[in-house]
């Protein structure tokens, strides 16, 4: 990683929580990063590569609609790893 780095909260749910073996973590991330690059890094680091293709992200409680979108982080932001939904 190059450029400024911020520390954010990462939340894991359902299958991703089980694989990561934790419900939350604090992680240093680039202040500016393409969502898919970030997902690559987190999947490797937290053991989620087996389900990576089904994951999406939420930044401060809003879905990142497209993995090609750029995310702008501030210190303390909340990032969630979202496996396929199954509410209802």
């Amino acid at each position: 990683m190059s450029g400024p780095v911020v520390n954010v909260h990462v939340l894991f749910f359902a299958k991703s929580r089980e694989l990561a073996n934790t419900a939350r973590s604090k992680v240093d991330v680039p202040a500016e990063i393409i969502a898919s690059d970030l997902l690559d890094q987190l999947a490797s680091r937290f053991g989620l590569t087996s389900i990576q293709s089904s994951l999406i992200l939420a930044h401060n409680e809003s879905y990142i609609e497209n993995l090609s979108d750029k995310i702008l982080f501030k210190e303390g932001d909340e990032l969630a790893i979202i496996p396929p939904l199954s509410g209802g």
């Binding site: 939340l11 749910f13 359902a14 299958k15 929580r17 089904s54 939420a58 409680e61 809003s62 879905y63 969630a80 979202i82 496996p83 396929p84 939904l85 199954s86 509410g87 209802g88």
Partner: protein
């Protein structure tokens, strides 16, 4: 009024109907999603639900706003989802609306349950009888 909640205890269906009551309303529609006892031949004993609580509530409130845009006549909207362990036959989700006329109540409930399944961050795991490994489910698009 909008009533949006994540609950840990059984949902009281009589209370839901009370929330819908309104002298100006001629129609209420209530959808209840319950735990089924089977999936692909395996006996389901319960479901375990978890949510991204804050975001789930936010998305549930957005569904309410969307409903009111599409059906401005709606009076009350209730969206309750239960979390934790839900035994077979008990309600995991209740979606209910009331309105002066029936079509808004019926259509809005159908729309809302579809929306809930595609955008509210809630997950369920089916717990099976016997040795079958429990499984995280996936809603179809």
């Amino acid at each position: 009024m909008d009533h949006v909640k994540l609950v840990q205890d059984p949902i009281d269906i009589t209370h839901i109907h009370q929330l819908l009551a309104d002298e100006g309303c001629g129609a209420s529609s209530v959808f209840v999603g319950t735990t089924r006892d089977n999936f692909q031949g395996k006996k389901v004993v319960s479901l375990a639900y978890e949510a991204y609580d804050n975001m789930a509530l936010k998305e549930m409130k957005k569904i309410c706003s969307d409903l009111r845009l599409k059906w401005p006549e709606l009076k009350h909207i209730v969206i309750y989802h239960r979390l934790g362990t839900v035994p077979v036959c008990e309600a995991s989700v209740v979606i209910a609306t009331s309105s002066p006329h029936r079509s808004e109540a019926l259509e809005s409930v159908s729309f809302a349950i579809d929306q809930l399944k595609t955008r509210v961050p809630i997950w369920k795991k089916e717990i099976y009888e016997g040795d079958h490994i429990s499984e995280w489910k996936e809603n179809k698009e």
